[in-house]
């Protein structure tokens, strides 16, 4: 009897396997389980013709077969139904463009300013937000540039009246910091500065600077070099060489011009560095004793260093921008590149 049952089972499975779609599945059900003419139903009817002692075993086997068929039919029906539902769900074309959400563009100068301010905070500096309309005293006098000092020539200045002007550099931080803090001082200021230079590709009457002051006991020119190196590497995100050569700024002595190895040709010589391998990047030096004294710092106890750098110039170098005016036109085609 087992062999006979197995045979039925196999036949049923074959039918199931051949059924495609819900309709054919229904036919399989009808073929095997229909009240009238179903194979299993028909076999059950044979129960009556069997000898009494065989009936329970046969009945049990047939019930098992029917249950099995029903479970299998349901299983397959669910699977087929799911497949058909999936098929009928609309397929989207994922290659079409998404909704045009867009972030605004960061201004390269603001981005650099934020980066630089964070570098200095991490190095223990206090960031000063200082006035752009400034007293002559803070911009010139207290930085050892009295009236009729020829160094003022290099900084043609916008005036409001005899004593009020637009700051020509952020070096005003030196005086403000020394007036408001006692050593040890680590101060920095970033922002707009102004000079009466007509617009061209490399000049603008308004540009941006960052100026630094460190005053403490025992500060040396070696310290200036050390901190400059740390700073420049962080700003340019690259290994670079740096060199200092004598330079003149009335508020420092000794004074230095600072060059970095050309970031385009890595020092081998190109158009940007005029074949020299070096790019002038900032001015620096040891704070002039007169500047310390004028702001009430005892120059026999304390020394310090200072430097000032054009942020626009760094952006020009870093991103290869060919015209400073682009920074202030706010052309979206320009801004969206940063």
């Amino acid at each position: 009897m087992n062999a006979w049952m197995e045979d039925l089972r196999r036949q049923f499975e074959q039918d199931l396997a051949q059924a495609a779609g819900l309709d054919q599945l229904k036919s399989v059900r009808d073929k095997w389980l229909a009240r009238e003419g179903g194979i299993i139903t028909g076999e059950m009817k044979r129960l009556r013709d069997l000898p009494k002692e065989e009936r329970p075993a046969f009945g049990q086997a047939m019930n098992q077969l029917r249950e099995f068929a029903e479970v299998r039919l349901e299983e397959v029906r669910t699977a087929v139904q799911k497949a058909e539902q999936q098929k009928s769900r609309k397929q989207i074309d994922v290659t079409r463009p998404g909704f045009p959400f867009a972030c605004g563009a960061q201004h390269p100068i603001k981005q650099l300013q934020a980066e630089i301010a964070e570098i200095f905070v991490s190095l223990g500096f206090k960031v000063f937000d200082l006035p752009e309309v400034e007293k002559d005293y803070y911009n010139f006098e207290a930085l050892n540039m009295p009236r009729n000092h020829p160094a003022r020539d290099a900084q043609d200045t916008f005036y409001f009246d005899d004593s009020l002007l637009l700051r020509t550099h952020c070096s005003t931080v030196q005086v403000h910091a020394m007036e408001s803090m006692k050593p040890p001082i680590r101060a920095v200021s970033l922002g707009k500065v102004y000079r009466r230079d007509p617009f061209d590709a490399t000049h603008s009457p308004m540009f941006n600077q960052v100026d630094v002051l460190v005053v403490d006991q025992g500060i040396t020119m070696g310290d200036l070099k050390g901190m400059l190196e740390v700073f420049l590497k962080k700003v340019f995100h690259t290994e670079l060489r740096m060199r200092l050569r004598p330079g003149f700024f009335p508020f420092v002595e000794p004074g230095a011009e600072v060059d970095i190895s050309c970031i385009f040709c890595r020092g081998t010589g190109c158009r940007i560095c005029k074949q020299s391998g070096w790019i002038e990047i900032l001015g620096a030096g040891m704070v002039h004793p007169k500047v310390l004294r004028m702001s009430g710092v005892d120059d026999s106890r304390y020394s310090g260093f200072a430097w000032g750098m054009g942020i626009d110039r760094v952006a020009i170098l870093k991103y290869g921008v060919n015209d400073i005016r682009l920074f202030f036109e706010n052309d979206l085609r320009f801004l969206s590149q940063f």
Partner: protein, 682 residues
Amino acid sequence: MKISIEWLQQYVELPENLAKLREDLTMAGLVVEAVTGAPDAPVFELEITSNRPDCLSYLGLAREIGAMYAKRVKSGRAAKALHVADLSIPYSIEIRDPDLCPRYVGLVLDGIRVGPSPQWMQRRLEASGMRAVNNIVDITNYVLLECGHPLHAFDFDRLRGGKIIAARARSGQKMVTLDGVERELDGEMLLINDGSGPVAIAGVMGGQDSEISTATKRVFLECAYFQPASIRRTSKKLGLSTEASYRFERGADWNGPPAAIARTCRLMQQLAHGRVAGSLQDVYPVPINPVEIELSCKHAENLLGVNLKSAFIQSTLKRLNFRPVRKGKGKWLVECPTYRADMELEADLIEEIARFHGYQNIPTTVPAGTTVGEPSSLYPYERSVRAILLGLGYSESINLSFANEQENRCFPLPEGQALQIRNPLTEDTQFMRGWLVPGLMRAAKHNFNHNQRSVRLFEVGKVFRRGEDGAVVERNSLGILGTGSLSPPNWLGASGDYDFFHLKGMIVGLLSGLRCAPAEIEPILQISWLDEATSAALMIGGRRVGVLGRLDPDLEEELKLKQAVYVAEIDFQELYPHLFSAVRFEPLPRFPSVERDISFVVSKEFSYHSLRQGILELKIAELAALDLIDVYEGGQIPAGRVSMTLRLTFMDREGTLTVDRVQGFSDNIRSSLRDQFGAENR
């Protein structure tokens, strides 16, 4: 300054390799910006900083190079003293203002024949960037370039009364200078006068009347030392800068005139048939002492962070013609050369030591000590504003801080508050900006002109005004601009143009992102540059902190914008104290909320704000939110009325709301709207 290598070689031996010389000069602080001239006649273009007027000459540069390479400087021909024979012409020199003219040396030459100077001299002058004129003028220029001391040659026969008087001008006095310009003088300018009037503006430019001409027979030579700041002031005030004033204002050598005049005299004898005819007069009432500075090796070491040998310090100073006198171990009293106008303090000497030690040989160290870094007080707020606005699709801009006449007129400040620049560069820099909006508009217009009509910009920057007491008030401001289509063309069908409610919604979103104290947008406002029908004030705590709205359509037309532009300007300093209010956690509700929508038609006389206030005044504690979700006008809605749908959200923190209670609340609201505002249910 242009330096001909051929000429320079007359005074000092140069290295074979000019590239090395260029590099060494640059590293010594004398930057060679370019090498020009023919290959066989190279010219160095040097940038001489304003502290080193002593290097503005061939001899000065030769001294520096001599010190660099330990070579002797051949200055003999320039330095020889002058012996004067024929003194037949009497004249006098008087200094009335020795504070402005400490020293004046004069000499008269007779028998002069004015003509062209020799070729070699012309070539050298031209290689150095000067034009040849005639032998007399060329010789004075030649000596100026050679030893760095300016001289002036007068036609002696045009000087009246045989007198030279150095004295301050009378205020308002006038004279015509060599360049043919009549100049008005003031009482602080030093003049050189003859017996009857001015013949030169001292140290700046000679007068036209006594100019050397082809007819000149007798020459009066002037070689003086003038006070630097006075020359600078005169030159600046007259807007007249010359080779002479450039050197005098930076500081000439007060001991330079005798040698310079001797050299000039000799050249005029050789090249212009000159013969000394009037005594060499050196008027020098109060001799100026050389500068003496104390120097300590320890101080130099401490400032530079290097170890130095006394012998090195001493030899360096001597090479540079300083005279160090030992005052104990590692200490000197140093007498400075009188041509080093930059020497004043010990630090100046230390720089000389550092230059010759080599900046590159100073070891790199890290400053000791620790301090705690601190960002500027506004920075955290600015950073958040920036992050939010960038996320909302607004690009950050930096606009010029200036305003022109038109902007000043179209975006007026209260009477007397506009901050005017006394010496503007162009008409675009006449004023400091009082608002950020005009700059944003300019940027928007720039973008329109380049076919970008959908623009969102913001700026955080300073605006400037004159306060009531005349002092300048500088404030941080936040400007925002939006215009054009809401999103780029897209197949998803989202479209439409930016309007007031996008601007307002963005500002409300920004404030919420900044955890701002409750803010209100109120309609009452009189800002001339905003459209009266579409403008509002941003109020926080009863104070106006900003304005927003559509730009005045007349202004849009005047500025040829051709599309509606929405702008906001928020006083950042008023705003930031209200930001990042303290957080107090409120437990999340444990019971579900229930929503009810109510629709009604109401007269447009009532603002949404007043309807909302009317509902809030019912003080239904369970009303958790109130949102306007639909507005409809026209169609079956009578004119002057508007249909609105409000979504009411109710919630009870203590338990689940029953249908009856919710119905009660919304009935209460409906009847209140009906009674207070005549709203009809729909």
